[in-house]
Symmetry: C2
Subunit: 114 residues, 2 copies
């Protein structure tokens, strides 16, 4: 039997939809590991600063497949409002402006409910 | 206190790293809702067919932000080997070949450990 965990929430009786935010980045070719470490440290500081974040998972591409982007952030929220609070939070905006955006050549994002 | 859920696993004592696969798609402009429904149904059939999938969450962009991709798939695995088994599984390859790839104009992906 497959586990219930993959199932849509409406099938498991859990009707509280989550809002998942996904952002993928490509770094500029000149980006150093120190820059990526600083970005990672900045992101790690966000959950303690932004209580609306329910689950926060991020990391560098594992190098399994060619053609991938370089870095992923996946954040889960209990509501759209919580996501927007995170998106617009000054601590998040500061990490983006100071540690991520200046080094990003390409970005792809989706927010979806599950 | 922030919950433990956002914390890196090595801080919570859970040393079993997960491998997360993220794929974002843009549909071709001519893609109909029937095509997206068929893709969604195809994806929903994969967890019962591929036991290596630990958690499977996918969906269409919620329309909160401009400039986003259209669709996200996030799948969690207990190992890289489980991810590769999913990636190469005939049921997955069939959904990609028949229901997704012909309609995709842009794709971004990352696999990362957390």
């Amino acid at each position: 039997m497959p586990s219930a965990e993959w199932q849509p929430r409406w099938r498991t009786g859990d009707t509280d939809q989550m809002l998942r935010h996904v952002a993928l980045f490509r770094w500029n070719p000149s980006t150093t590991s120190d820059v990526i470490d600083a970005a990672t440290a900045g992101l790690a500081g966000l959950p303690p600063a932004i209580p609306e974040i329910a689950v926060y998972r991020f990391g560098s591409d594992a190098g399994i497949n060619d053609g991938n982007f370089d870095f992923a952030v996946v954040a889960d929220f209990e509501s759209r409002g919580d996501y927007v609070a995170y998106r617009d939070h000054p601590a998040h905006q500061a990490v983006l402006a100071e540690r991520i955006s200046p080094h990003v050549s390409d970005r792809a994002a989706v927010q979806y409910e599950y």
